[in-house]
Symmetry: C2
Subunit: 552 residues, 2 copies
């Protein structure tokens, strides 16, 4: 077999494979095939282009195909679709989308970076002008042209995933009325309820309409273009509809060649990014991943992962040896003034794996010292495994700096750090950047207390679901805080008065004590236990993170 | 022995010890002794108060002593100095600084959080009005009053450590002419030369005078107050002098009691924060630390560490069990528009431990994608151990977001992660926060190539020192970049022309190839090796990070 690398895909993992393979081996012939006319574009930047955060389309185009090919010594076959792999013969059949001609390329190693494509709900009218998906820059330019051409004032975004939320923000920035429609009862399925509730508040604050638990059932159009969306809650007028209900991997080429497929029809790969055929590699959005925390297969298609996988695949295709261990599922999204991040396992995962094995906590704290201008609120959710005390998941949201805390916790989770190891991390401290005790340290300390059973908390979502008229809600703040608003049905005993007044509480009923953010109520928990009360918990995150009814 | 916790020190570790011990044990008597009148203040915020970043003095006072004592059930002895420990008798002698009376407190466990105090150079005139150290909020208020009273327009800061640089920034903010005087040939001893050079550029850009390798030899005064600083380079006029040449631990009390002292006269402690006397604990700026990377003793007094140590000491003093493993030496500082951070080992450490065992790299890259507004430059230095491939140190500087990268690397270094583990970290990716390949990932990849000997680099500082007329400096950028400025004495061969033109280079002389930031020159390195050149290196960080002469 004459050495010849053939790579299918031109966005992230494909060009990365080609460029890295060339750096590994100056002589080997490399051919890159892509059915698009352009390569290597900044797909994740498209919502911000549409929001006019920047105006120059060219900024989305990272590399020009011909230039990339010349500089890297790669034969560029843009506008060609790969149609069939003959794994035994080591050949790839490709079709010229312009001319229609078919050719066969021989390969010694084949790299698949075929990406993913938008899922579409099984409804009619998807072909109406004004109905778009947003996956490539070509899509973005078409949406932009459509908005300009028709001076669109009213849009619907279907699907409240990361890109859906980015689109709501950016279409609002562009001055449109926007309705977000989501089939599930919460936005952002990859985060816990408490985070999703904060996102909805922010979406509404920026003037978007949010319809949860709502099914898109069809599209209305006039003779020219889309006019509305039919939903399970009635019609919603729309001049522009962005369908963002999810993606699926482009794995048909691999599947038809007999390569093993994995979770959600991704192409199964080992840590060397090798498929079930040792001469075929896959990387990027088409390839299966491993969740490092559980060792289970997962699939979180992201450009960051695609680049890393493409590099590892290239090293191995060129005769080297490199591994991609997997992901922890880190993701960030900005929604107006709210920063949101997540990493590792979430509540839903814990329930699947056995909720009793895990502990959670919820801690609000500012990102930098309160005396510094710009100091802003954060809330951090941690999940830890009781047996090992390992931190297994984290989510953070707020107007403050979220991404640092999430990246630190992603690193700690990847390293398998325990709650105590996180609590003693030597994180940078200087007033412009962080307080002496960063929220990451504070939250790990709170988690440690819970794991030690020095305190016992209840997450706000759980309390909402399990609170009965029996439950005594005890506010331990000061009277002036109480006067400004409290959880509906709560009674007041300020922290300092708890030792002498605990007898006022019915000893046979469950007590949940709360304060502003959780600090005083954890203290109150101890005092109530000392006073002999049996069934006491404190409310994680206090009234700051409370999602239920308030009064006063 | 009747249980009674006595704690000495009221700033960070002391109050933390008292509050945590109380949460651990609701009944044990706790007494806190401090020679100051106030407790628990935000010492690190003082430079920003002096720069009028915020105006309200009260914001620096975190807790009021009486209130703290009442809420936590702690007997507060402010204005009392601890003068003698009788370890055998388990007693502490204290003096009332107001009344002068002496008392003896019995303790079952004693916690020392005696802090540190400014070092003073052995010169005359330190008692002149207008000469200050900055350690406590009391110092800050005195400086502030002095500035107001005399309408100070001209200040000298002696000592270019973190606080020295913060003071330069803030006194400039307040409109003063500022001269920074440093004995060493670089500012910020805890960072490598390339970072220190960037800091000096920024200090000069904000209008400060920087005198390096300059000794403060005396102070001039008139009948009322200080008028100038005498230095090894001549006199510098000054109406205000801030002495920030370092600190030393307050360990005399411990030393006189026979407790074992450690590095730089800190109080030696084990991981439980226990001194050589099992009933005496120490925490905060007076206590020795362990550098996690090397296992060696270190001493980096910081409020963040003090809080963690205080908590651990309290748990153990109250009968629990907790450990503080040490620090990696993370520190952040803002200098005008420049963010600077460091963690782990630095070049000086590597030289002490054996430079040949380590590899370094230097990578410039923007913090968020270039198409996003606010995208700003960063430069990242990594140090790794060749044998284990562990990342052992990192420094980052630039107008971009530094603190996230430093905290991620502090976490990775603490976990003992290899270069490859860092390169595959699942860091958050979304355009407002990070590019698809974060600078941390890019730098780890660059380091991997060096460790594999796929490339061979030279750090700019090393090239400055070792470059001879023999050395061929090769610029591999495009002619239009060359025309805008180049390293003095360099010659130009654009990257694409290297294969056919490598023969123009003298085969027997060392070649150092450079580009803008290091990416193309690493490629050029490979092409030059392919062309048969023997002694080739590329310049880490390219002309972007070059500290020597340029021309054109």
């Amino acid at each position: 077999m004459k050495p010849h690398l053939v790579i299918v895909g031109g966005v992230a993992a494909g060009p990365k494979m080609a460029a890295k393979a060339r750096r590994m081996d100056p002589d080997i012939p490399i051919t890159l095939v892509t059915d698009e006319g352009i390569i290597s574009y900044a797909a994740c930047g498209t919502p911000y282009y549409l929001g006019r955060v920047f105006e120059d389309r060219k900024k989305l185009l990272v590399r020009e195909a011909e230039d990339f090919g010349r500089k890297n010594g790669v034969t560029m076959l843009t506008g060609h679709r790969a149609t069939r792999i003959d794994a035994a013969a080591h050949t790839l059949e490709i079709v010229d989308l312009a001319g229609g001609g078919t050719r066969t390329l021989e390969y010694s190693k084949l790299g698949l970076a075929t990406g993913a494509r938008p899922l579409m709900p099984p409804i009619e009218g998807l072909d109406a002008p004004g109905v778009f998906t947003l996956r490539s820059v070509t899509d973005a330019f078409a949406i932009d042209d459509f908005i300009e051409q028709y001076n669109v004032r009213r849009a619907v975004v279907a699907g409240a995933g990361f890109i859906g939320l980015e689109m709501v923000e950016n279409l609002r920035e562009r001055g449109m009325a926007v309705t977000l429609i989501e089939l599930l009862p919460q936005v952002l399925p990859p985060v816990d309820e408490v985070v999703a509730v904060a996102a909805v508040k922010e979406l509404e604050q920026m003037g978007a309409d949010v319809l949860l638990a709502t099914r898109v059932e069809g599209l209305e159009r006039d003779e020219r273009r889309v006019t509305g969306v039919l939903t399970s809650r009635g019609p919603v007028p729309a001049e522009l509809v962005i369908m963002g209900v999810g993606v699926r991997p482009n794995s048909e080429l691999a599947g038809e060649a007999g390569l093993e497929l994995g979770l959600r029809n991704t192409i199964r790969v080992n840590q060397r990014m090798q498929t079930s055929d040792p001469d075929i590699y896959a990387a990027g959005d088409c390839a299966e991943q491993t969740q490092i925390v559980t060792g289970e297969p997962t699939w979180i298609p992201l450009g960051s992962t695609a680049n890393k996988q493409g590099r590892v695949a290239a090293v191995n295709m060129a005769g080297g040896n490199d591994c991609f261990p997997g992901v922890v599922g880190t993701a960030l999204v900005r929604v107006g003034g709210l920063n949101i991040g997540r990493t590792g396992l979430q509540q839903r995962d814990l329930e699947r794996l056995g909720a009793e094995r895990y502990e959670s906590c919820l801690v609000p704290q500012n990102d930098i010292p309160g005396y510094m201008p710009g100091s802003a609120a954060l809330t951090l959710v941690l999940h830890a495994e009781k047996d090992t005390r390992r931190v297994v998941g984290a989510q953070c949201f707020g107007a403050g700096e979220v991404s640092k805390r999430i990246d630190v916790l992603a690193t700690a989770i990847t390293a398998g750090m325990t709650t105590e190891q996180v609590a003693s991390l030597d994180l940078g401290y200087a007033p412009p950047y962080a307080p002496a005790m960063d929220i990451v340290i504070t939250a790990a300390n709170v988690m440690g207390n819970k794991l030690d059973e020095a305190t016992r908390g209840v997450m706000p979502g759980e309390l909402c679901r399990t609170c009965t008229p029996e439950t005594v809600l005890l506010d331990c703040r000061e009277p002036h805080e109480w006067a400004q608003g409290r959880i509906a049905g709560a009674r007041l005993i300020p922290l300092a008065q708890i030792p002498e007044r605990a007898g006022e509480l019915p000893a046979d009923r469950p007590v949940v004590v709360y304060c502003k953010g959780g600090l005083r109520s954890a203290d109150a928990y101890r005092k109530l236990k000392c006073a002999g009360l049996k069934d006491v918990r404190y409310l994680d995150g206090g009234i700051t993170c409370w999602m239920g009814e308030t009064e006063g």
